[in-house]
Structures are given as C-alpha cells and as structure tokens.
C-alpha cells in the first residue's frame, strides 16, 4: 500500500476537519472494500479518517415501526439484531448474506452505501425499503442517494451518520451469486410498505442499483410471483460481462423477483 495517515476521529466535527484538511482524505469504517482497494493500488488516500469510535455511530434502535441503524453498524450486528429481525427480517437476512463471516464482522452499512458498488446488497435493500440516509448535514431519500456506479449524492465533507428504515408489510431479498466471487450477479429486493410496492435490482444495472417500474406495477396489482410473468424486462442498460450477458441478467431479474415474492 502507498503511505497514508491514520486518524481516529473522536467526533463528527473532528472527522469533518480531518477530511477537509487532508489532500485526498477518505473516511474509513470496516475497510473491507477500501483497504482491499488500497492493497491493489486502486485507491491511495492521503489520510484515512476512522469514524467507528464516534459516539452514536453504531448500533440499532427501534422507535415504533422505524429502525435507526448507525452508519458504523456492522453487517453481523444488523443480521443479529433482534429489532431488525422483528421489524424487517429481509434486511437482517440481506446483512447476514454479505461476503463471509469475517467481512460481516468488519464491514458496515454506511461504508457499503457510501461506496455504492453496483453489485453490493445494501443499496438494493435501502432503495426498495425507501430508506432515508441521514448525514451530518441533511437527510437524503434513498431514491436521490444512489446516483450511479460508485457514485452517491454525498458531498465533500458529508458523513453518513445513520440510516432510517420503516418496517414494510412484507419484503424479501434474493440474490444469485456469481459462483467465484459470491457477489450478487443479480440481486432483487422486493418490498411492500407504506410507500407502495418497490422492486430494487442490484448487480445488473450499468448505472448501479435501480428500481423496475414494470415489476412494481405488476406486483402492486397482485403480490404474487405469477404477476411477474407478463412483465417484460428489457436488457438495455444492463451489464454484460464474462459472468453473464445482459439478456441473462434480464431473465434473472424476473426469476429472482418471483422467488423473492414467494419468500416474502
């Protein structure tokens, strides 16, 4: 790895100051993507600002039907949290299926969505659940947050502090793993909640996670796996690579949507 300077931020203000002071400073949480990228020389931040020790950055609280998940809460903590399991078991299952056990002990929800990897699981979950991303300066709807490949609405000096999710009536996430990396070749999160039926797809879009209007319309009319049969899923704008063509991914979107509805 190229040299870097490590800071353990004691507060949000401290983290913001260090972010602004560094030439190319980056926030660090679990590091399961960032440190791996640094080892490959794909990232060389001048400074790493560790946000995990900031008060209130990790842990889950429930207020009625609303979950508030601290940005530095690990995947293992989300997967094992009784409130998440009670109010949104699909989200607990999603967290419990990310990476491997060692990754889940370290990786965090805030880190995952700030990175917005086009194959990451959390973006699909938060988009389908209509989550709110809370930062040190504002609240951002998931619909506005995920902007494209590794791109989010976050501005310089902006730090995710928590994620707010309302319990859906029913929801499920199913992913088809790319057999070597075990990342989602395609993952579909279906949710029927206060904001209506939402279907979010990860792993497939050229611009990262996206919602599928046709599937949402069909499932709004009839929450049954057969409702997806008549929906056409276009392969335009879908990723095509050695692991699967765009047409293959388009078919998977439909198949996984049906499986997710059955599992919900």
């Amino acid at each position: 790895m190229y040299p870097t300077k490590y800071h353990k931020a004691a507060s949000i203000d401290d983290a913001v100051a260090a972010l602004n002071a560094g030439e190319d400073a980056k926030l660090l949480a679990g590091g399961q993507t960032l440190i791996a990228a640094m080892k490959q020389h794909l990232a060389a931040p001048s400074d790493l600002i560790d946000v995990r020790a900031i008060d209130g950055m990790s842990g889950v609280s429930a207020d009625g039907d609303t979950l508030v998940i601290g940005a530095a809460t690990t995947h293992a903590e989300v997967a094992g949290n009784a409130d998440v399991q009670r109010l949104c078991p699909a989200l607990a299952a999603l967290a419990g299926g990310i990476g491997d056990p060692a990754v889940r002990y370290a990786g965090t929800i805030g880190g995952s969505i700030a990175n917005n990897d086009p194959s990451a699981d959390y973006p699909a979950g938060l988009l389908a659940l209509g989550a709110t991303i809370v930062t040190n300066t504002r609240e951002i709807a998931a619909d506005d947050f995920f902007e494209g490949l590794f791109t989010t609405a976050l501005e310089d000096g902006e730090i995710i502090t928590s994620v707010r999710v309302n319990a859906p009536k029913r929801a499920a996430y199913i992913k088809f793993r790319q057999p070597a990396s075990l990342f989602a070749l395609v993952g579909v999160f279906v949710a029927d909640g206060a904001g209506g039926v939402r279907v979010a797809v990860t792993g497939a879009g050229e611009d990262g996670v996206f919602r599928h209007a046709g599937l949402e319309e069909a499932l709004s009319a009839d929450w049954a796996s057969s409702a997806a049969d008549s929906v056409s899923v276009d392969s335009d704008g879908l990723l095509s690579d050695i692991h699967g063509s765009a047409a293959y991914r388009a078919n998977l979107i439909k198949v996984l949507t049906k499986r997710a509805v059955e599992a919900s």
Partner: protein, 157 residues
C-alpha cells in the same frame, strides 16, 4: 508512523509502525508470529484470519493502527501449553489439512464459528459449516475433511 499497543496472545506488545501497516504485517514482521498466513493479495482467501476482541477478522484487511488496545489471538495463542485446542486436535485427527497453508485461518474461523453457534444456541449443521467457511479457501482438501474436523471439534468444545 503510529506507536501502537495491543495484547497479542495474552502478552502486551507495542511497536512503531507506518500507518498503512496491516495487522498481518505487524504480526508477521514485527512480532515474528508467522503462523498467520497471507495467501492472497485480495482479501479473499482467509488464511490470515485472527481473532480481534473475540471476533474473527482478516488480518490482511485490518490496519494495525486502528487496533490500539485490542486483544488479538493468533493461531499461536490457541493451544493451552502443550495441549492443542480441540479444533487443532480435530484437524489433526480428521486429516483436515494437506499442505497446511490455509489451516491457521481455517482453525481461527472455525473456533469463532463454533463459539458463535453455541452462544446463539443454533445447530451447526454440515450445510452451515460449509456456508460459514465461505471466506476460507483451501486448494488441497476439497473441504470434506475440514468440515468433518469442525463437526468433530464442535462436539468437544
């Protein structure tokens, strides 16, 4: 450079290291605890898994500087004097290794796995073991004897 202090295998250790030093580097190069292996450069193989504050982490994807005051256990810290840990003994008894390169990570992951399942009162089935070993790659055994080893040790831990 950061001056770090942590507890490794019950002993207090310290060192002045560059901030980008990985825990795997600190363990192997500063402390000469070479039982923690580094099998890949991509955070995928799991040979470097150690326990940090009771949780199995990839030492190659953890900055040493972030672990001030942490309690670290490596494969060298598992045995009780001359008596092997039940997981180590089970890998021995069930021929759970051939070349042995992945074994330290396999064992550290497996100890964490068994402890976690016991704490949560969940049944550790063969399927669960295979799923839990997703982050540990072995190129020799085909995993069958590793799974048998974990099943054997789980009954004794």
């Amino acid at each position: 450079m950061t001056n770090i202090k942590m507890t490794v295998n019950g002993k207090s250790v310290s060192g002045e290291v560059p901030d980008e030093t990985l825990l795997s580097e600190f363990l192997r190069e500063n402390l000469r605890l070479t039982g923690t292996h580094v099998g890949c450069d991509t955070s995928q193989c799991g040979a470097c898994v150690v326990h940090v504050n009771g949780k199995a982490l990839k030492a190659c994807t953890t900055l040493a500087a972030s672990l001030e005051g942490a309690e670290v256990t490596t494969i060298e810290g598992l045995a009780n004097g001359g008596e092997l840990h039940p997981m180590q003994q089970a890998f021995n008894d069930n021929h759970g290794l051939q070349c042995g390169f992945c074994t330290p990570g396999m064992i550290m992951t497996s100890v964490d796995m068994v402890n976690r399942y016991k704490a949560e009162g969940k049944e550790l089935t063969e399927e669960a073991i295979r799923d839990e070993l997703e982050g540990n790659i072995c190129r020799c055994t085909g995993y069958h004897n590793i799974v048998k080893s974990v099943e054997d040790a789980a009954a004794k831990m």
